[in-house]
Amino acid sequence: MNSFTEQFKRSLVIAEKNIKIYYLKGPVIIFGLVFPLFLALAYVIGRNIPLREILPGLIGMTTFFTATSVGPSIIPWETRSKTLERLLCCPIALWTIIAGDIISSFIFGLIISVIPLALTLVLGIQPLNFIILLLGLIIANLCFAALGVLLSAYPPTDIPATSMMLSSLVKFPLVFISGVFIPVEQLPQWGAAIASFSPLTYFTDMVRQLFLGRGYYPLVLDFLAIIIFTTALTFAAIKLHGKTLTKRLS
């Protein structure tokens, strides 16, 4: 009854609840839609660079901001409204809740990040392999969603805006070091070394390879790195939320 499969099914129930409640919350709309849209416009308009060259950074940035926009707000919100306590009284493990939060963040990110990808197809810009790009997009969204949920773990605040602001303090520097604006191969050696610690680096590199045919890392390594980051971030989110749970409930 309480096998992994049953708990996973209950994660989907939590994800469904999150979709109904949190997708239309103000901070999610601002950080997940408005903000990436204007950042993307600022990134594209007025730059005398072919669209194909801009695409990797644009897709990387949009995916990153949208997939990390829902996660940081859910648990602080639920702490504040005491619904976290209600969930934890149910026969579900903490990881079930975290997985549900990651899934809902992932779906939000995936839906929004498909838009710039669809636009490229409409504009006739074809990736070298569409299926691989789609797979990359899926796994990257999962990875960034896990990061978003992890970012809400500490400090254990019950104010969603605080969590969103603190997560921005991590997200912005990551965008700048991840080859979004400057490809990794053009960075100095120390810059490339720092970039290797960001999951966004590997996704941007993957998209760059699939649109431009050139990248810093082998495609397989990009995939592998994102999978490792996803696993590590998910485990870290479960562990850290577990540690801060007592404070949230007090």
Binding site: M1, N2, K17, C90
Partner: protein, 311 residues
């Protein structure tokens, strides 16, 4: 003895403060067990441990036969909880709230629909089932919370201050439902401040203070254990000098109570004889005379003032 809830030497510290300090008790199947205590006594901490929300520092707790530390999911599968604060999802409808909880218990869809509809009708919420809970009154939210706790047809129901702050009608409805639920053979663990509620609903009561159990017994036995708290209320046709009362060795204390005198004694028959004699001697008429058993509130106050800790 079949215990549905068994607690052994349960301990929980917050920093240097022992919120729960080596408490042990058992709750029998089909019992309404009251948990009484002042604010900060450890009631909510105990409920949170029993419902798997927090881990104790020591001791063991079993709910429905499952160790809440080792098998929390299995234990939680068999319980329903009405927490201290109203924590429905206000952005969901009443129906969606019930459906969410039912699905999290893994209920089959048909059974969930049947239970949800039946509970909403029973609690007078069916007509508003598609309205957002945001628009509900406190009483409606509390009724919905009870529906959410009952939707999975639990073996044990945990209620943490369920009628706190409710209007009289909603509180009475909730009490009636608790009695009805218990009549169906289910066990209820009730934490409350309300003495009358505890007296009315509970088969047995545990009084907790400073994290320790001060007493566990039936409401009647708790009162009987505190016979020095029983009193006689007498009204005379004239104002009396109470000095003579306090000189009587059978009288513990005599205090004015409106137009009456309240006389505390462990030996009411002797005091009644004395009062009749006193009235004759002073040419007084006794207008009324009542022997009162100590109230649960009196017993509670005695216990939490540190006159007894049984563990």
């Amino acid at each position: 003895m079949e215990y549905v809830i068994a607690v052994q030497e349960l301990t929980k510290h917050y920093g240097d403060v022992a919120a729960v300090n080596h408490i042990s008790f058992g709750v029998e199947k089909g019992e309404v067990f009251g948990f009484l205590g002042p604010n900060g006594a450890g009631k909510t901490t105990t409920i949170r441990i029993l419902t798997g929300l927090i881990k104790p520092d020591g001791g063991r707790a079993f709910v429905a036969g499952y160790d809440v530390l080792k098998k929390p999911i299995e234990a939680k599968q068999r319980i329903g909880v009405v927490p201290e604060v109203s924590n429905t999802y206000v952005d969901l409808t009443a129906w969606e709230n019930l459906a969410l909880i039912g699905k999290l218990y893994g209920m089959p869809p048909q059974k969930l629909r049947e239970n949800a509809a039946s509970l909403l009708k029973e609690f007078g919420l069916y007509e508003v089932k598609d309205k957002l809970v945001r628009a509900f009154s406190k009483g409606m939210k509390q009724r919905l919370l009870l529906c959410m706790a009952l939707v999975n047809d639990p073996e044990v129901l945990f209620l943490d201050e369920p009628t706190s702050g409710l209007d009289v009608e909603s509180a009475r409805l909730l009490r009636e439902k608790i009695i009805q639920y218990n009549k169906d053979g289910k066990t209820v663990f009730l934490s409350t401040h309300n003495m009358e509620e505890a007296n009315q609903l509970c088969h047995r009561i545990a009084v907790i203070n400073h994290g320790r159990i001060a007493a566990i017994d039936t409401p009647e036995n708790l009162r009987a254990q505190s016979m020095e708290l029983q009193y006689i209320e007498v009204a005379f046709n004239k104002t009396v000098n109470m000095q003579e009362f306090s000189e009587n060795p059978s009288i513990t204390k005599a205090v004015p109570a409106g137009n009456k005198v309240r006389i505390y004694t462990a030996n009411p028959s002797t005091v009644i004889e004395f009062l009749v004699e006193y009235a004759k001697r002073n040419d007084l008429r006794i207008l009324s005379l009542n022997t009162m058993m100590p109230s649960l509130e009196d017993v509670f106050l005695k216990l939490i003032r540190g006159k007894g800790v049984i563990q």
